[in-house]
Amino acid sequence: MKTRFKIYKTIGLIGLFIVAFTSCTDDLNITPNDDQTTLSEDLFKDEAAYKQVLAGVYANLALTGTDGAGNSNLKNIDAGTSQFGRVLLYVQTLSADQMIWSYENDPGTREIQRNLWTAQNPLLLGMFSRAHLSIALANNFLRETTDEKLDARDVSASVRGEMPAYRAEARLMRAMAYYYMMDIFGKANFADEATPINSQPDVYERAELFSFIESELLAIDADLINAKQNEYGRADKAVAYMVLAKMYLNAQVYIGTDRNADCLSYCEKIIAGGYALATNYLHNFMADNNTNSAINEIIFPIISDGFTTQNFGPTTVMINGSVGSIEVNGAEVGVGDGGWGGALRVRKQFVELFDGSFADDTRNTIISEGRPIDINDISDKDSGYIIQKYSNATSTGGFGVDQTFVDTDFPLFRLADVYLMYAEAHLRGGGGDLTTAVGYVNALRTRANNPNTITSGDLTLDFILDERSRELHWEAHRRQDLIRYNKFTGGNYNWAWKGNGSNGISLPAHFNVYPIPTASMAANPNLTQNTGY
């Protein structure tokens, strides 16, 4: 009896444990509980998800993460600063002759605007990583929308009907990211939809990138929606043509080959797409530029909305940042009175492009009263002129919904740029017609209420470079333009604070591309540092 009692008890206890073990080890396989997070295996049960995932590919240009403007899916860079348009503005505009950032204790800004950058610069890491994230997200979309997967999920005909355009757009976003990498860093990690997660991919140099981007953009042409026919915010054929036109215009820099004729023909294709200049130059930079006359001019925007699409992107930064320390003029542009206390100003050489004949030109938004033109001390926010190009006000007198996060979309590509590219490609021997080129330049001037139109004799390459600055300043084009004109490095053209001299000094030639960020290089041993760094 004694023994049996013991055995029963023991067996009972052990039995209890065994039941507990087997039922509970499965609990280790958890699933997310948060309502914002979905497992991929569940996601595509809802066919609406395909378009939402495509929206995610686009959103990577506007958002830094999924949980507000201060949230980022990238690390080792300030979350808000990791926005695509923001870092693009830093590398293309802040590094050149148009812009000064007053708060040099914001990491990386000092080195960018004084041309002192190193491979540790967090803004360069932000640029490199953000563009590559676009590549990863596009690859992911392509992996999830193969015919095989769509068949397996038994996707309806209507969604499948949309799929060629969706996939072409994802490939376009990927090609565009590679285009920026080719321009800014001269190389990129080459990952396509076949590249495994967390692998160490091959590296493409400029020539390989050039031919990849070109072949991709040509290949997707048929699947892309015609210019101006797609939903606002999505890319169409004209966006692909724009990337091609820009590549061809800069082909001499990228691959040492003249492709100006190709540039010109793609400019013509874009113009033939039905675009028209906004009735007012400033409409392009206002809170309602997604609905006012600018919708005929903007070819591709980076979306911003004070409520639904908040970001510390280029428009929020430029509108808050260009509020003057003396003027305290934030209310005029629909943000807090003081804005960011005078974060942004312009350099002297930019101001000098607007001589007396541009006094009434609407592109001239310079505010100079009570300010010295020179910036001898960058942290002195009262020195140097400011501009008022971007605004969170609408064309009808209203304002954006929020006083920090603006409604103003960033015009990444717009028709005025195409006009000037046409003229330049023509001058560089790309064919076309001189009268047409002069006509395009004068169309911009007329639109800007500037009666001083030009004649064909005025149309020189140097004129175009200056006119591009007048028309396209603070739109993230300047560094590329100066490099094409061989004025970025070397001593041909020195602007204030170039090379860390208050009057500008020569830069070594290797500054024509940026260094590969240390962290990116460490994570992929196939990446090598650019010469000179």
Partner: protein, 973 residues
């Protein structure tokens, strides 16, 4: 019910024994010195399994045969053996076992004695607790144990950073595992509460066991790398006693950051010290306001604790306690109140074969959070302006304004505090139910089942005045938040104990299941039409373990412990979720060898050696191994055709994530001299953490982030710990004892992901600046700074740094590593002196070789900051020493990295005890003391001890610690 149990017992035990026709022996067991009856004494016939235990009056009854040897044993008393020679009645007296060596030490899933312990385990009982102003339980350990550092913030009821041996991780958790009565608690808190330990009443704690080396901790496997602190709460007893403790404290801040007074500020501005800029003197006011004096206050706090122990219905040992703690914060409006109810029931059944322990605790925490960010505003706010302005539309507070438009710049800190009412209301229920069953007829085998539950629900209500200074159309903030955390535990184990001729064995095997959940929601700002409600939830964390331990003792001298744990975590994928954590330890009680046995000097001496592997999985990421998409929240959507579409973005993923492992090797000596009047330990250890869970870069374009948590890198920690406890004077009415402990620590990063540096230590001043770095071959978080240049007079030259790499450009490549925030040496000292009825105790604590980056000076003490956007702002007076103009020129200078070594007296208390006051009041102790008595340091900032939270070693306006005068009374009934 009782009748049934008795009948059952009768049948089970009495009937069978009657069959053998034995004699019945009765008697009473009493305590020798007091003659108080001892309940629960084990009365066993030697070499059999027959036995009983005494009842509550110390009586026992047992059936014996002539010649049987009866063994009387009771924890804490010396066992007694008596031979039955036909006595009718056998009364015995047990004497208390005063030898510390038999002191019970709680270890994981069981206990041992100090003599038998093979690992580095330190037991701290209530007599040894650190005294003074103890609001949260970890402060009982402060400075008390070698290798354990407790850093507490100045905020009321706030949590502390506890580190055992410096922590073994870099990115993963460095918090030790804290176990309350067998329930491992979650180290994450909820909003609305001050911290996980803030809701626990220190008065309910009976003892701590601190497990430091792997051989002791490995039984907790995956969570043991940072050491384990086991908290045992007070239990019910069969004899009645009651205590009432009350304490009042009066706090005062003794120090301020030295900024300019109103008059000095007016002079300074008039001197126009900012190069290239003219400050608008018309902005100056006429007042003299010391804003720090205005936002800080003297505080009054109190604690009341009532506890009762005794037997309910004469059969159910129980303890009940009620505590109320009220603490005012030094910053205006901040307040902490806690009410604790605690119940312990400790019945025993079936002649003590089944022991049941129930601990149930309720804790109600009511907080008002005073924004400590206003301390920074107080340093900054223009001292020439008044606090109040009767014409102000902002509730009558002065604000820099132009009519009703607020000027850009810092706002009035007094207004910010008084116009805000942020309340946190946190209710916690925790406890466990423990069954400890010693098998009938097989007493060598014990089964223990433990069920634990811990739930915290917190409500947070934020609201501000509608007249807060803002130009926005949204006037202030109103938000409600709710959060809930739960922690469920089931564990059980079997222990087999058997003594053979020369060998004692104890074998234990068990299973543990624990699940943690977290969820919450908030309303967003109810006054902002653009704000939105949000709900959130973490993935559950499930931890499952199988564990076992074998203790073998040969000849009472040679001890061997083997442990093994197999742990599963829900944080990793199916392929990686299980990890194995073995450990072994050897100990040799040399003092039991013949050649030392008779030594008068050496009363005990034990050599220990241990090796073990522990794991780490406590990273923030709970589901990173899964293929996930995350939808944007209301503010993070995209638009197609001007219509909002919720974008879905693939989340970062690492399917290969696995355990971080820490291998610890340790050698130790435990010594006791002159009849244990002097005792202590000396330990040498080395910990190597490999496969560090580390957030590091991934190749761009191959993941959905540029940096994800991975298993890369290696950290090595080497250390020496020494402790000595000494009874210097031990006379009847005069005793002096002290404890001294010293820890030498060296942490070094052996390997990082692909050899790359990682920047850490975000500082204020600019967006996203980092001052620290992780680099191979250096301590974690070493300061990465520029080397300051000085002129001939020895004054620093603004913006001039040494071009360390000689490329004629000062850029990031010229930063070098200067020191680190970790202390090289940590010392603790405490002493208790008793003379007649007086008692005096104090403690001292020192850290040597710890460095701090003075972010207060680096981001504030520059002349350009006299201009605060559109208004004027104050700056620290240290600007006069440096003459620095601009923050951005100097913020990375090594001039701000300072030696912050310190010696602190945390507290001193003096008490007097009145004994036998009346029949009911057994004693009354009155005491008084001082908390934060003094600090000796060369550090120029407010307090050298800044390491609270993640920003280790960065002094960025800490919540200051008050000096507190304490007075209290303890009543014993």
């Amino acid at each position: 019910m009782k009748t049934t149990i008795n009948s059952l017992l009768f049948f089970l035990f009495i009937v069978p024994t009657l069959m053998f026709g034995q004699n019945t022996l009765t008697g009473t067991v009493t305590e020798q010195s007091t003659s108080i009856p001892l309940p629960g004494v084990n009365v066993v016939i030697k070499d059999t399994t027959t036995g009983t235990s005494t009842d509550f009056d110390g009586n026992y009854q047992i059936d014996v045969n002539n010649g049987d040897v009866i063994v009387f044993s009771y924890i804490g008393y010396q066992s007694l053996e008596m031979t039955y020679t036909g006595q009718a009645k056998l009364d015995v007296q047990l004497t208390e076992d005063t030898s510390q060596l038999d002191e019970i030490v709680i270890i994981g899933y069981g206990s041992t004695t100090k003599k038998d312990a093979t690992g580095s385990v330190e037991a701290i009982t209530s007599e040894d607790f650190t005294k003074g102003n103890i609001v949260t339980p970890e402060n009982l350990l402060s400075g008390r144990v070698a290798g354990v550092s407790v850093t507490t913030s100045g905020a009321p009821g706030s949590g502390s950073q506890i580190k055992i041996r410096g922590g073994s991780s870099i990115n993963a958790s460095n918090d030790p595992l804290i176990i309350i009565d067998g329930l491992p608690i979650d180290n994450s808190s909820v909003k609305g509460s001050r911290g996980v330990l803030a809701s626990i009443n220190p008065n309910d704690i009976d003892s701590f066991s601190v497990l430091k080396d792997a051989s002791a901790t490995a039984i907790y496997g995956s969570r043991a790398s940072n050491g384990v602190i086991i908290i045992v709460t007070k239990k019910g007893k069969s004899t009645f006693s009651a205590t009432y403790d009350t304490q009042y404290s009066f706090g005062e801040l003794t120090d301020r950051v030295d900024v300019f007074s109103g008059n000095a500020y007016r002079q300074l501005v008039a001197s126009q010290p900012v190069n290239g800029t003219t400050i608008d003197e018309s902005l100056l006011g006429a007042a003299n306001t010391n804003w720090q004096d205005e936002i800080f206050r003297n505080t009054v706090s109190s604690q009341h604790n009532l506890s009762m122990q005794g037997s309910l219905f004469k059969v159910l040992p129980a303890r009940f306690s009620f505590g109320v703690t009220n603490q005012e914060g030094a910053v205006l409006t901040s307040e902490f109140e806690r009410r604790n109810l605690s119940l312990a029931l400790n019945p025993k059944f079936f002649n003590d074969h089944l022991k049941v322990n129930l601990n149930a605790n309720l804790s109600f925490e009511d907080n008002r959070f005073g924004d400590s960010g206003q301390i920074g505003a107080a340093l900054r706010y223009d001292p020439t302006q008044p606090i109040y302005d009767s014409s102000s539309p902002f509730d009558g507070f002065y604000q820099h304004r132009n009519g009703n438009i607020i000027s850009n710049g810092t706002t009035n800190p007094v207004a910010s505090l008084l116009q805000t009412n942020n309340l946190g209301d946190s209710n916690r229920t925790y406890g466990n139910l423990n069954f400890d069953y010693k098998f009938h007829f097989f007493p060598e085998l014990r089964a223990v089942l433990n069920l634990g539950y811990d739930e915290t629900e917190a409500k947070e209500i934020q609201s501000t005045s509608f007249n807060v200074p803002t130009n926005s159309t949204v006037k202030g903030n109103a938000l409600r938040r709710f959060e809930k955390r739960t922690n469920k535990l089931l564990d059980g184990y079997l222990t087999y104990n058997k003594a053979f001729d020369n060998v004692r064995t104890e074998i234990m095997a068990g299973y543990s299941y624990q699940e943690f959940t977290f969820s919450g929601n908030d309303t967003g700002n109810l006054r902002d039409p653009l704000s939105f409600a949000n709900t959130y939830a973490d993935p559950n964390v499930v931890l499952i373990g199988f564990f076992g331990r074998a203790n073998l003792t040969f000849l009472d001298k040679y001890l061997l412990t083997l442990t093994y744990r197999r742990d599963g975590t829900s944080r990793f994928s199916k392929e990686n979720q299980w990890g194995d954590f073995p450990a072994a330890a050897l100990a040799w009680n040399i003092s039991d060898e013949d050649f030392l046995k008779d030594s008068k000097t050496i009363s005990s001496l034990k050599l220990r050696a241990g090796y073990g592997i522990t794991g780490q999985q406590a990273v923030n990421e709970k589901d990173i191994f899964l293929n996930r998409y995350r939808g944007g929240n209301v503010n993070s959507q995209y638009q197609f055709n001007n219509t909002v579409i919720q974008s879905l973005i693939a989340s970062e993923i690492n399917p290969d994530l696995k355990w971080e492992e820490t291998a610890t090797i340790e050698f130790g000596v435990d010594y006791g001299l002159i009849e244990e009047r002097i005792s202590g330990s000396l330990n040498f250890f080395q910990k190597n953490s490999t496969d560090l869970l580390f957030t590091a870069s991934v190749a761009d374009g191959t993941n959905f982030s540029n940096s994800i948590i991975q298993n890369i890198g290696e950290l090595q920690i080497q250390g020496i710990e020494f402790s000595v406890n000494a009874d210097v004077v031990k006379q009847d009415d005069f005793t002096v004892d002290f404890n001294f402990n010293a820890t030498l620590l060296d942490r070094e990063i052996k390997e990082l992901a692909l050899g790359q540096d990682v920047r850490t230590g975000g500082i204020s001043g600019g967006t996203g600046n980092n001052i620290q770095i992780l680099r191979e071959g250096f301590s974690p978080n070493s300061f990465s700074v520029f080397k300051q240049l000085y002129d001939n007079a020895g004054n620093p030259v603004e913006g001039a740094f040494v071009d360390l790499n000689g490329d004629n450009v000062i850029n990031d490549d010229d930063r070098y590593l200067k020191e680190n925030p970790g202390a090289d040496v940590i010392l603790g000292f405490q002493s208790n002196i008793n003379y007649k009825n007086f008692d005096l105790s104090f403690n001292l604590r020192a850290n040597l070789g710890n460095y701090v980056y003075n972010n207060v000076n680096s981001s504030r003490a520059q002349y350009e900051l006299l201009q605060d956007n559109a208004v004027l702002g104050n700056v620290p007076k240290s600007v006069l020493d440096t003459g620095f103009q601009r923050t951005s020129d100097v913020i990375i200078s090594d001039i701000y990295v300072e030696d912050a070594s310190f010696l602190k007296m945390d507290n001193i208390t003096l008490g007097y005890t009145f004994n036998n006051i009346s029949k009911h009041l057994k004693s009354l102790r009155l005491w008084g003391g001082v908390q934060n008595v003094f600090t000796i340091t060369n550090y120029s900032g407010l307090d050298p001890e800044v390491s609270v939270g993640a920003d280790q070693g960065i002094d960025n306006v800490i919540y200051p610690r008050s000096r507190t005068i304490l007075a209290g009374a303890n009543f014993k009934f």
